[in-house]
């Protein structure tokens, strides 16, 4: 009997202890560090909220949120809406669509690092595929140093993100569309509906919940991106593609400002959690109006 009461804690202990040590403890410590002026090994000087005040005057830090916002808005179109469009295309009632489904998902399988390198070469100004295509089409004046130009670099990154993830969202939507009962389509076809009508009036409304989930994933994921930005531009040129994480790595690991970096990390965590809570509330409200 004694053994029976003890065992639940033994079952949860490995997971709870490991999670506390690797994730919870560092979160608490980061919060604590953020009130100090500290480079990691010298003396820690308590400075209250000074790091936070500095963060809100840090031009590059604020700019990196602006870049994340642009990135999120564009990837909503290039990933979620493009995925929706692809899902519509591959669920048309014709043979052979599964081949296209497999094809569009393939980029999801590439490690983000490989994708980033490959596209760095596609955008390369000397031998890159994109400039080669433009020259082939006699559009020489359109050729560009895509990643070296502050006006094009961020958009170039968004396109790569879209190429990489559209197939992922397509697959989520595909699974939802497959669950729509067949007789709904049949009666629609009998009423003379075209594939376009079916896409907008049946498929999209029926998977509205999945679209909401996908938007949440895309928005929250937008804050977490790192590999793509680090490999393709590492924040450059002239901070034109700086995002919070690339900047954090520079502040903490290049400049050694652990205290200030921690404050930047805490602010970002609060932003992500805040956005997550707002999105959840929006979703709940939306569902309530639907059910009544």
């Amino acid at each position: 009997m004694h053994k029976f009461r003890l065992s639940p804690y033994l079952f949860t202990a490995p997971a709870v202890l490991l999670f506390s040590f690797t994730i919870l403890l560092p979160i608490v410590m980061t919060f604590f560090f953020s009130f100090y002026d500290w480079n990691g090994f010298g003396t820690m000087k308590f400075i209250g909220f000074d790091n936070y005040v500095r963060a809100f005057h840090d031009h590059i830090y604020l700019l990196s949120y602006w870049h994340i916002l642009i990135y999120i808005i564009l990837t909503i179109f290039l990933e979620v809406f493009a995925g929706l469009f692809l899902a519509g295309l591959i669920t048309v009632k014709l043979k052979g669509t599964s081949l296209f489904r497999v094809a569009f998902f393939t980029p999801v399988m590439l490690p983000m690092l490989v994708t980033s390198f490959m596209w760095r070469f596609v955008y390369n100004s000397d031998f890159g595929l994109l400039n080669a295509v433009l020259k082939f089409l006699h559009l020489d004046s359109w050729t560009n140093v895509w990643l070296g130009n502050p006006h094009t670099a961020l958009y170039a990154l968004c396109i790569v993100s879209g190429w990489s993830y559209a197939g992922f969202y397509m697959t989520i939507f595909y699974a939802g569309i497959q669950r729509i009962p067949n007789d709904i389509y049949e009666s629609a076809y009998l009423d003379g509906a075209t594939e376009r009508d079916i896409f907008f009036k049946i498929k999209i409304p029926m998977i509205k919940n999945l679209v909401e989930v996908a938007l949440t994933l895309c928005i929250l994921g937008g804050f977490q991106g790192f590999d793509l930005f680090y490999v393709m531009t590492n924040g450059g040129p002239y901070n034109a593609t700086e995002i919070v994480t690339t900047y954090l790595v520079k502040v903490v690991f290049t400049n050694g400002s652990i205290g200030y970096g921690s404050a930047l990390a805490v602010v970002m965590t609060l932003v992500v959690v805040g956005v997550g809570v707002v999105l959840n509330m929006l979703k709940r409200n939306g569902n309530e109006t639907l059910e009544y």
Binding site: T30, L110, W163, I172, G192
Partner: protein, 281 residues
Amino acid sequence: MEMSMRKSSNSAAFRLFYYVFMSVFSLVYFYPMIWMLFSSFRGNSEIFNKPFSLPAKVDFHNWSKAWQIGKMSTYVMNSVIVTSLTVVFILLFASLASFAFSKLKFKGSKLMLLMFVFGLFMPMQSFFIAQNYIFDHLHIKNTYWALILPYVGMGLPLAIFLLKAYLDSIPKEMMEAANIDGCGNLRLFWSIIMPLLIPSLATVAIFSSLNSWNELLLALLYVQSDSLKTIPVGLLAFSSKHVTDYKLLFSALTIITIPMILIYIFFHKHIVSGLTEGSLK
């Protein structure tokens, strides 16, 4: 009658348009990967001058050179070790915990579960600064553990929720019957719960292994010694050493990509459902 005639005549033009459009579109979509493959067979000057032609010959010389110079076997081995240990720990710890959360009543279970909910929403940026500091002081930086520990910690919340959701759907009577038979919790877990969990464990294993296989940020920060680098960081190091030797870089990228594509082709149903389920919950 009229309806079906209209439908079929519509389809003929539509079908042609559809197949032509989709074929062209997927070719464009795929082309960067084809270009990468072709470039891996070319010489450096050919890469600059003939971007569209087929490679002069299919020559694996670049590949073997990239494999050797790039120390790829070391990186691949490191990735295999880190990923497999990570997945084993996640599966073991998460299934033990989710069993307790789903089927046993005990004080503090709600609080512990809440902690993992919290973990689901925490971005990596919220902890890596202090984690780096802790690992530095415990001297586990530059070991496999510097990667395995955080990967397991990050993977646990989602794994626990997926497995718990599955266990919740199994009727409690089954456990009670076993308990009356004098089955202890541990035996109940091994002989009844584990076999039932296998499909869900496969799902968890798929997204956990892809996550740790591809992870870059922590691997970049915690491992400096070249002999311990995983594939992503190894490729980065390789690329900064051979900045302009494009044929070798293309070869290295291709070598890393091909096994992923093969795995995908063979297991695409499992992988697709593993990845989508993993992100929807």
